[in-house]
């Protein structure tokens, strides 16, 4: 979605460490995502998947290690600077700009995140609205939307910043089968424009449909990394994540 794409990996974590007291979120964690890759991230509750996103987006600082996004070391940058470099995110608990309309939510993101001029931002907002299926709600106040539409707005607002790397935090929860299919096709459409996507999701059916690769986070390290089908039948993953008895 960004016009300029840098050679090399889209996103790299190098020896990232983060702990809260005794809880270890990231223990010497490293990973690489190629441009345009769609990576699913799973793990048991409390494994620190959301915290991992906070580290990448800059909402929380790492204890040590390095994060490179879209060709730049972003470890010391603030969230707004990382967003302008192409890192966008959705929040697990939606944070809409409640007293602004849906279209204004996207417009402000297009102007400041994507750096568009106001006239260009308007047509881009229309594109994002139709991509995310929010045209009918465009003039409604974001604060008046029901939860599922708010989650859709989280996705749309992140997309409006024209990201190179998109972090999606549990946006499929609570959806019906038909709605999941709908969401999956939206995410495919975003991925087809060359956006690298990291998707944390409990609805595994949605994830395995689109992910090129699945990573499993547990105890601050990756316990599995590979194609969705292979990861799901991995005995270690089965034991820790699904609680299977051997």
């Amino acid at each position: 979605m960004r016009d300029t794409q840098v050679a090399g990996t889209a996103l790299s974590l190098r020896n990232v460490c983060k702990r809260f007291g005794k809880t270890i979120i990231a223990n010497d964690l490293s990973m690489d995502c190629a441009h345009g890759e769609l990576v699913g991230v799973i793990g048991p509750n409390g494994a620190g998947k959301s915290t991992l996103f906070n580290l990448i987006s800059g909402d929380i600082a790492v204890d040590s290690g390095e994060i490179e996004a879209n060709g730049q070391i972003v470890t010391a940058l603030k969230p707004f600077e990382r967003n302008r470099l192409g890192v966008a995110r959705s929040y697990q608990v939606p944070k809409p700009f409640g007293r602004m309309s849906v279209a204004e939510n996207l417009e402000v993101s297009a102007i400041f995140g994507a750096g568009l001029r106001r006239s260009d931002a308007r047509s881009w907002v229309d594109e994002v609205l139709s991509l995310s299926g929010l045209q009918a709600q465009r003039d409604l106040l974001a604060g008046s939307l029901p939860l599922l539409v708010r989650k859709r707005l989280e996705l749309a607002r992140a997309v409006a910043t024209k990201p190179a790397i998109l972090l999606l935090d549990e946006i499929a929860g609570g959806l019906t089968d038909a709605e999941v299919d709908d969401l999956v096709s939206i995410i495919r459409a975003i991925a087809s424009q060359g956006v690298t996507i990291l998707w944390v999701e409990h609805v595994l059916r949605a994830l395995t449909k689109v992910a090129d690769r699945v990573l499993v986070l547990h105890g601050g390290t990756w316990i599995a990394d590979g194609a969705p089908e292979a990861v799901m039948i991995d005995p270690e993953v089965q034991r820790i994540y699904f609680g299977a008895v051997e």
Partner: protein, 320 residues
Amino acid sequence: MHHKSFFAIIIVSVTIAIFAPMFLGRGDVRLLTEIFLVLTLAQLWNLLAGYGGLVSVGQHAFVGAGAYAFFVLCAQFGVHVAPALLFAGFVSGCLAIGIYALVSRLVGPYFSIGTWVVAEIVFLAVLQTNYVGGASGFSLPLSSIREFGAAATTREYVIYATAGIMCFGVLSGNFLFLRSRFGLALTAIRDDVAAAHSVGINSDRIKFILFTSVAVLTGLVGSIIFVQNLRVSPSAAFSMQEWTATIILIVVIGGIGRFEGPLVGAMFYFALRELLAPFGSVYIIVTGIVAILIIIVFPDGLSGNIAAISRRWLRAVRPL
């Protein structure tokens, strides 16, 4: 509100304001001047606190700084009143940069208390400075007063016009600002700071610009207020009750974080004050009680709840 209807209302109001002094007595012109100035302060504070989330309770520092800067320039350096007025805004802005460096690290209520403490320090510093007359202050020299007009009526009309230009200028500027890209960013910050950061908005920078520009305009208003009084003293120029508490009261009654809030609040406040004028200082007590009742009954302020009620009423009359 649409651009066209807003500016139509502004043009009509300005036209009325231009011709109003012909039909009003001098007392009424003075009252209108005061309304213009207080309404300007209320609009500025609403922008700062209601939109920017910078709940400053130390705005009297900038009113006083502007007034003193203006008086010193006129009385001690013999500067003409027009450039002195602009320089007063500049001094107030410089003070804001210093204050912001101190208080910007404080969050929420700590920020508010910080602005209050710093404002008191500025007040005490001026109080101790003999150069500006210490506690008793000093008067504007006759030569400066004459620069506003030789006759008293001309002078009052010039001050009235200056206040009107400030008020309508800030009102229009506020309207356009909130619809600009920075206004959108400010509204986003008001609604959710973390989310605003996540879409590329630099809230620190926007808040700094907001705090400083509001201070510049507050200083300008401060100097005009004391031109009308012809005399400046620390307790009057740095009065927290008049330049901060009353302003907060007006904005909260009218509806904080809403464009129409200060307008509705100021109309209500001045109507109440004039109504209770014959009873002396009782008006402060009554205004306080009324304010508390309004906050309890209309938590969104008069403008917010009137908007909601009228929408409901319109639906009831004409079901669609």
